[in-house]
């Protein structure tokens, strides 16, 4: 079963709060993420993982009337969180996916304390259909 784990970070003032962390905390966080990805890969569970560019680079696109993109700055100003990155894992049960999400959520932040970020877990529609 494949699951997408979406890591949401608080929007705060609109910037990545990580830019204000002390360098050693930032380094610890980055190393954690690298190690985490390697662990998933070594366990034979990693399908894909990406971190997303900072939210001030985000744009929201809609189809213009008559075609073509209509681009505005995003994400929506009222959003309290933004998507910081995601993993897709291939595991045997939802419980295993929750376990992995909890590990990601505990990524260290300032002072090395766990960030406890919100991770949304969604099953990827990859199950085979049964005969009708």
């Amino acid at each position: 079963m494949k699951f997408m784990l979406m890591m949401h970070a608080p929007r705060g003032t609109g910037d990545w709060s990580v830019f204000k962390w002390p360098p050693e905390d930032l380094k610890a966080h980055i190393n954690f993420m690298k190690r985490f990805a390697k662990e998933l890969k070594d366990a034979g569970e990693l399908v894909a993982a990406e971190g997303l560019a900072a939210p001030d680079q985000a744009r929201v696109v809609r189809a213009r009337k008559g075609g073509g993109p209509e681009v505005t700055d995003g994400p929506f100003p009222e959003a309290k969180e933004f998507l910081a990155g995601y993993w897709i894992v291939d595991v045997e049960s939802p419980e295993q996916a929750y376990e992995i999400a909890a590990r990601a959520s505990a990524a260290p932040g300032p002072g090395g304390a766990p960030l406890n970020l919100r991770i949304e877990v969604r099953e990827v529609m990859s199950a085979p259909p049964v005969d009708l």
């Binding site: 079963m1 034979g44 045997e92 099953e123 529609m125 990859s126 009708l132």
Partner: protein, 422 residues
């Protein structure tokens, strides 16, 4: 032999020889993990050399020799490393013992394929690991092919396979036939893994995903091999018949855009008549022998469907009887579900819906989309459109299969349209 014909027969030959060669090498070196790597290298070497130089007179011996040479090289470099590290003089590898005893051609190769299957489907492994290892070690597929089939990156699949090999190594499973006591249970695990491989391929062969449908062919090939080795074991014949009879419908079960077509609406002229004839003969012969198991009963149900020229010719009372037997054999809610459909076909939808009531209380089924889907279908048959729409929508919201969600959503939409028109 021309290069083109060699390309096809050569590949089949390699796949057939893979488990025999691996068995021989493990028997000699007692190291599953290293032997598996060495055999993969030998297979690759053959795939490159044979089309150009022709297939050797004794292809099996050739492969064993190349794999054993790799093993020896590895042992040597391992020894050299140890020597450097500990300055302990060790005896040089006894490579003169390698080839003659390995390829003695005493019928051992038949057993080796089976022993390998028993190893790869060992209960100590998780199911995904057992499946991957079986396809690689017994099926002779490359890691890239297996990764493609399961839609995961090759590195991830490589890691899964290597962990499985380490696990087998750590568990210390000896390379020999399971005892008679263990045998039934271990054979059950083997058949289950083969069934899962088939199902993954067959159920997913929707739209352009051709790589996955190859898994169904691979499962049939492997099960056929097991059947050749154990022609008298009824459940092996039952599983092979089930696969053939199910796979025969593959060309008809999806439309041009990959959409699912239910059994009752399929164009039966597209069904594979040869596969059906083979499957029917196999299951008929097997059932007459006495010991009846779950795969045989499922194959018998598939045979009843396949033998009906039109959907309305289906012998539903016989299917009801077969599911009745299956129900007594296993406490599987999916069997109850299928039984309810058959009962509805014979005694009308209310009788089927009545049987579904008990399933709603079953924890394993309560939130399952299949229960809603079947309920929707029976409600539609009974003419209760509004209730059917609600169940179709509930089922659509719960399935994790895209083609199935499309099917269920379309059913709900069509019924809604009919209601609105009134």
């Amino acid at each position: 032999m021309t290069a083109a014909s060699l390309d096809f027969t050569g590949e089949n030959l390699l796949r057939e020889l893979a488990p025999q060669v691996l068995g021989a090498v493990i028997r000699r070196f007692r190291d599953f993990s290293a032997a598996e790597d060495a055999v993969q290298e030998a297979l690759l070497a053959a795939a490159v050399q044979w089309p150009e130089e022709g297939v050797p007179d004794n292809p099996r011996g050739w492969l064993i020799q190349v794999a054993a040479r790799r093993m020896t090289d590895q042992v040597r470099s391992e020894l050299a490393r140890r020597r450097r590290e500990t300055v302990v003089v060790m005896q040089s590898p006894p490579d003169e013992q390698l080839t003659p005893s390995l390829d003695s051609g005493d019928g051992m190769e038949q057993d080796d394929t089976l022993i390998l299957l028993f190893m790869c489907c060992h209960p100590a492994l998780t199911r995904p690991s057992a499946i991957a290892l079986t396809l690689r070690a017994v099926g002779g597929l490359t890691t890239a092919e297996i990764a493609n089939a399961f839609l995961v990156p090759e590195a991830t699949m490589a890691q899964r396979i290597s962990r499985a090999k380490l696990r087998i190594k750590a568990s210390g499973v000896p390379f020999r036939m399971p005892t008679d006591q263990e045998r039934a249970e271990r054979l059950g695990a083997v058949l289950h893994v083969l069934y899962l491989i088939f199902n993954e391929g067959y159920s997913s062969s929707i739209g352009p995903n051709l790589q996955r449908s190859d898994l169904a062919n691979e499962a049939i090939r492997l099960t056929r091999a097991v059947h050749n080795l154990l022609p008298d074991v009824e459940e092996v014949s039952g599983l092979l018949a089930l696969m053939l009879l199910t796979d025969a419908r593959r060309p008809a079960r999806t439309g041009p855009d990959g959409e699912l077509i239910p059994l009752t609406e399929q164009d039966r002229t597209l069904w594979d008549r040869n596969a059906i004839a083979e499957g029917v003969a196999l299951i008929t012969d097997t059932l007459s022998r006495g010991s009846i198991g779950a795969y045989q009963l499922q194959a018998a149900v598939a045979a009843v469907h396949d033998e009906a020229v039109r959907a309305e010719d289906t012998d539903w009372p016989q299917i009801v009887a077969l599911y009745g037997l299956l129900k007594r054999m296993s406490d599987n809610p999916m069997v109850t579900l299928n039984h309810a459909i058959a009962v509805a076909m014979v005694n009308g939808p209310p009788a089927g819906l009545e049987l579904l009531k008990a399933l709603g209380a079953d924890e394993r089924m309560a939130g399952h989309y299949r229960l809603d889907a079947v309920r929707a279908h029976l409600l539609e048959m009974a003419g209760d459109r509004e209730a059917a729409i609600a169940r179709y929508r509930a089922a659509a919201g719960r399935t994790t299969s895209i083609p199935e969600r499309n099917y269920l959503t379309t059913k709900a939409a069509r019924l809604t349209q009919l209601l609105d028109r009134k």
